[in-house]
């Protein structure tokens, strides 16, 4: 029968995080704490070459001299870096060649996430690199991609099998001196994804990685390195979930994109880490550094739907180095309860006739704080460059906050920079209109919010768009007040 307000409220109060289950797999875990020995342990566990160990150790030295940044519009208890385990791998020694060899518990987890590799295989067109905690478990479609010369594997495998590529590009977009979390990641990263698209190759399928934090008290430090060689094209999907945990889990990833001349990279993220409960307890700290560099006439497009994490600190950026290169950033960030998000982008125009577009849609509910922070920088040589930014905020309650911090630095007078911003509150009038037509409150909110975010959702690949819409719905249920 129909809902009363009370029933609705009860259901919402009892509704727990959908992905809050813990996979019961024995895992191998390093003792808590961070020092040179731990870093050496990680490196040894992964049988890494010396150059990589040295890279890690240098990053660690730098990190020790750095201060945790506090300029973001977020408040949280600083993580105790000595109380984190920096390595956790499902106990499985042998190499996995096919799905049959994968631990059935793991397969179950994947199924719960709704992204079972078997299903993905059937869907065809999506190759999944599934990362649980830190070690990449199975990669599908590798052979098919291999025929085209595309390399899509875990970061560790890349270190083993393609060291020349890793060595050449790793840290070129985000050096370990870049910021506190990037330095930390460079010191202790455990695994991640690696992708290389050869010259002139258009990757025929969406490449997809599913990250998931499983082990309690572990930090996940994965690293993604994606290289699109000249005139190639790739669309990459990244999805994240974490089981429910009381203590905050730290997630500090580094993603580097390299689009060589006339290449195009489309990078889409749906992030649904555990946001903490309705009292603000628990949840993931998501401190991520993502950046791409564009060559001549190349293009990097970031699309993100952020609905999870207790604290998000994330600015997928583009360095538009090559002339005529293009950077795009499309973002929907949802915060509810006590979530805090400080997210946006940096568009660094270096080359001539470079173009960037920023569309950011913030949605705040509950008592959450949602900030857009963006930098558009037009360098001296960036003649005739253009930027267009649009930052919209939608408020669902009287207790939440939406903030916009746009920074513009322009050193070339021939450039055009436009910024538009709006703030609106979801209207009781809109809701009543929907209710009168027989659309229940939950559905109405979902309709209104999806309508508001449509410009961004339209940029997502089809299978992701559907998931993103559902996530928006789940994240905002009963959030109007």
């Amino acid at each position: 029968m129909s809902y009363t307000e009370k029933q609705l409220k009860e259901e919402l109060d009892n509704k727990s995080y959908e992905f809050g289950f813990v996979t019961d797999i024995e895992s191998e875990k390093a003792p808590n704490g961070l020092n040179k020995d731990i870093i050496k342990l990680i490196s040894t566990k992964k049988s890494e070459p010396d150059w990589l160990l040295n890279y890690r150790l240098k990053a660690f030295e730098i990190w020790q001299t750095m201060e945790e940044p506090n300029w973001a519009h977020v408040k949280y208890e600083k993580p105790d870096f000595q109380n984190i385990s920096y390595y956790s791998a499902p106990k499985k020694k042998k190499e996995l060649k096919s799905l049959d060899e994968v631990d059935p518990e793991l397969l179950k987890t994947m199924e719960k996430l709704g992204i079972s590799i078997e299903e993905q295989k059937k869907l065809s067109g999506v190759a999944v690199d599934f990362v649980m905690d830190s070690v990449s478990v199975a990669t599908s479609f590798k052979e098919k991609l291999g025929e085209l010369g595309i390399i899509f594997c875990s970061f560790s495998e890349a270190v083993k099998n393609h060291p020349e590529l890793v060595k050449k590009y790793m840290g070129t977009v985000i050096p370990f001196t870049d910021n506190y979390y990037a330095a930390l990641n460079s010191a202790v990263f455990s695994d991640g994804s690696f992708c290389y698209i050869p010259k002139g190759v258009k990757c025929p399928m969406e490449l997809s990685t599913y990250f998931r934090i499983n082990e309690s008290g572990t930090g996940q430090f994965e690293r993604t390195l994606l290289i699109a060689d000249e005139s190639s094209y790739v669309s990459y999907l990244e999805g994240c979930t974490a089981p429910q945990r009381d203590e905050n889990q730290l997630h500090a990833a580094v993603v580097e994109l390299i689009a060589l001349d006339q290449a195009e990279i489309k990078y889409s993220t749906v992030q649904n880490w555990y946001p903490g409960d309705d009292k603000g307890l628990g949840g993931v700290y998501n401190f991520v550094t993502k950046r791409g560099i564009c060559g001549y006439r190349s293009k990097i497009s970031w699309t993100q739907v952020e609905t999870g994490s207790a604290v998000t600190w994330k600015y997928p950026s583009c360095i538009l180095k090559g002339n005529f290169s293009i950077g795009e950033f499309y973002s929907v960030a949802v915060t509810n309860n006590f979530q805090q998000a400080d997210t946006g982008t940096k568009m660094i125009h270096v080359g001539k006739n470079t173009k960037s577009t920023i569309i950011s849609k913030g949605i705040s509910a509950g008592k959450s704080q949602n900030s857009y922070r963006g930098l558009v920088k037009i360098g001296k040589g960036a003649t005739n460059s253009r930027n267009f930014s649009q930052c919209d905020s939608l408020l669902m309650t009287d207790q939440c906050g939406a903030h916009t911090f746009p920074y513009i630095e322009c050193e070339n007078s021939s450039a055009t920079v436009e910024h538009e911003a709006t703030t609106s509150k979801i209207g009781e009038d809109q809701l009543f209109y929907c209710l009168q037509r027989g659309i229940s409150e939950e559905k109405a909110i979902s309709l209104i919010v999806n309508g508001y975010a449509k410009e961004v959702l339209n940029k997502l690949p089809m299978e992701f768009a559907v998931e993103a819409q559902k996530l928006l719905e789940i994240s905002l249920e009963g959030s109007v007040g």
Partner: protein, 254 residues
């Protein structure tokens, strides 16, 4: 014997501390058209909102029943599912949500309530083609966002189009004539007349007699200061047009 559709009994309501309806009584049978007229601020739009279940208003006294069921406390969406429709005086814009997606969601929510399957896309589109013809709704408007960037006239047509799609038992038209030129008024009225049947009823809320030339009421009620102070047939509307409201309200200061 006519079948009773809606019965409003001694209805009183307030918003904040302000009393607006002070004892409204009204019976509407199936197959009837009732017009509610009255001066500004008499409570006409409040009555329509309260009938539709807007919880901004607090009902302090009295009851509303619909098809024999007391709906005084019923949620707006359930009233809608059971056949109540309000054509808004100021239709609301919903950016990014296409008109037809909005309507399909509405129909499917109703189907879900009654335990029916969602409406198949083919049937739905056929219905859209058929019903939009009734009010001459521009084809492009169906795919545009709900009411966004519509002219005043297009918004009102869209309300009647939605009404046709939802096929309600009781339609409440809240000042549907406001902001319409004479041609649009005729089109909208024509649409409403075509939807009329022995099974449904219409409550027309209006300031002016003009609309009632096209949607001819069986009964006319005058609402003043939260109460119905006079009821009659369509001739009452003509009389009001001539004399204004003062002879009824006793307000002779003008």
């Amino acid at each position: 014997m006519k079948e009773l559709l809606v019965e409003i009994k001694d209805l009183e309501c307030k918003i904040g501390d302000q009393e607006i309806l002070k004892g409204v009584n009204l019976k509407v049978n199936k197959g009837e058209v009732h017009a509610i007229m009255g001066p500004n601020g008499s409570g006409k739009s409040t009555l329509s909102s309260v009938l539709a279940g807007n919880d901004n208003y607090e009902i302090t006294e009295g009851s509303i029943s619909f098809l024999g069921e007391d709906i005084t406390e019923m949620s707006p969406e359930e009233r809608s599912w059971k056949g109540m429709f309000l054509a808004f005086q100021y239709p609301i814009e919903i950016p990014g949500v296409s008109n037809i997606n909005f309507l399909r969601t509405a129909l499917n929510e109703r189907n879900k309530f009654f335990g029916d399957d969602p409406i198949p896309a083919k049937d739905f589109l056929k219905m859209v083609a058929e019903k939009s013809g009734l009010v001459g709704l521009d084809n492009r408007l169906k795919n545009r966002s709900v009411n966004e960037g519509f002219s005043g006239g297009e918004k009102k047509r869209n309300e009647i189009f939605q009404m046709a799609m939802l096929n309600p038992k009781l339609s409440i038209l809240d000042e549907t004539d406001s902001g319409l030129d004479i041609d649009a008024l005729k089109t909208v009225a024509n649409g409403v007349n075509k939807l009329k049947s022995a099974e449904n009823a219409t409550i027309v809320i209006t300031h002016y007699q003009r609309l009632l030339d096209y949607i001819v009421p069986d009964f006319v009620h005058v609402l003043n200061d939260g109460k119905i102070i006079k009821s009659g047939d369509k001739n009452l509307a003509l009389e009001l047009e001539k004399k204004g409201y003062d002879w009824l309200t006793g307000n002779t200061t003008k």
